[in-house]
Point group: C2
Chain length 260, copies 2
């Protein structure tokens, strides 16, 4: 089956309180796309976080002694490091410029996914506050965010849909970021192929496919990262049946972790 990823045109800059499902429906209309059973909407984390008011002004953050110490080792702003610690369960590696953590949501990433780039100052910002003092945290509960958007879109369209929220992560051994899933509703995170016979009737060695992460990477490729960014992608032709799912499926249990 052909997989088609279409960036939705004309998504405006998202602000706290915006209804993303509404923005998506308007953009689908503009693109002449009618939602069908099996379609998936992929959203960049940034628009979800902004809609949910996850912008933080660093000027209002007080760094703890632990954050100040870590900030010195990492050569980062202690207030940013304070937020990284608040958003994390464990610090895995620290180098100048780099803090790798286990995020409270379970995945391993740099800087707890906190982002400076493309962060618009909140509307109540004082004019003299330097724009780079604003940072954006990941959504509080991305699975729930995805589920809420999915529900609105399904109600509006009558179609059975999936919604995926993605971020860009670096990798331990490869250069370059790739899109990964951080919130999932209505599509499988993992697809289990254990026991499915292959062409020569052996049992498959590969047991589980990270289907949601593969789709996240595909959508990330289409989104772009810079000025022309299109933060919402419509997907048609996802090759696996939709089902209820959650991000936790993709998190490797600590006892299976060989590299922490």
């Amino acid at each position: 089956m052909t997989l088609i990823l279409t960036p939705l045109p004309g998504i405006p800059l998202v602000r706290q309180g915006d209804n993303l499902a509404q923005l998506i429906l308007l953009a689908l209309d503009r693109a002449g796309l009618a939602l069908q059973d099996g379609d998936i909407l992929v959203l960049a984390q940034k628009v979800v976080s902004k809609a949910e008011g996850r912008l933080v002004n660093l000027e209002q953050v007080t760094a703890s002694p632990a954050a100040i110490g870590l900030a010195e080792r990492a050569q980062k702003d202690p207030r940013l490091v304070e937020l990284i610690l608040q958003e994390s369960q464990q610090v895995l590696r620290v180098r100048p410029g780099t803090i790798i953590v286990e995020h409270r949501l379970g995945f391993i990433c740099a800087s707890a996914g906190i982002d400076h780039s493309n962060v618009e100052p909140a509307s109540d910002s004082r004019e003299d506050s330097h724009p780079e003092a604003w940072v954006l945290l990941l959504p509080e509960d991305p699975d729930a965010s995805a589920q809420a958007i999915r529900q609105q879109l399904e109600e509006a369209s009558g179609a059975r849909l999936g919604v995926l929220i993605i971020d860009s992560h670096g990798r331990a051994w490869r250069l370059g970021t790739v899109g990964v899933a951080i919130g999932i509703a209505g599509l499988p995170a993992l697809v289990d192929l254990r026991g499915a016979p292959d062409l020569f009737d052996f049992r498959l060695q590969i047991t589980q496919v990270g289907a949601a992460d593969e789709l996240a990477a595909a959508a990330s490729l289409v989104m772009g990262q810079a000025a022309e960014g299109t933060p919402i992608i419509h997907v048609r032709g996802f090759p696996y049946p939709l089902r209820e799912a959650a991000l936790v499926e993709l998190i490797r249990p600590k006892e299976q972790d060989l590299f922490r």
Copy 2:
């Protein structure tokens, strides 16, 4: 720009000596697709390896003492472990059922990418040789394999193309395999966004996108892994300009590795 990934229909079982470019051109014809500038063909490693005769009969492999010792720790066939060692530069982790290595091509992966599943016995196999005694090594030089296929396709079509060879890898901290690039010709492996202004004129924090790996994941999603597998995907709408490139772009230098 819309990204469209189309699995090519009717690719036959590939055997040593088959001309993959020829198979691709026939399949494109059947699919009614004419190659255009900017199109990319993504090939599963397995078909490239088979065409290049990388099938090995374990019955013809003699395990070294090092392989026998490692096989005991990993609870694997010592002859398979011998091949893993021959294909690797360094062993990183060993657990029952798992050997993680630095492949001679530079990337980190399990079992040096050696594959049991979907491996067809070579045509000269004795009838009494158990089919599972055959395993498939990665191509000798996947960049060169991709380049050779690209050259034939460009000559036949007159279009400027990219060719990507992919495999499925597990991840250190996430469950499920995802497609990754192992051989690249004519498309960027990394896309460098350093210094590109974002929407609010800050410098981007994310510096480099693993574009070839994102495309590999997308194509892997479309290929499937089991009986219905379609090992060659036609891609239209890759969002970055094509250029000369190589896999080595994606390999993180050891001195930047925090997790070896």
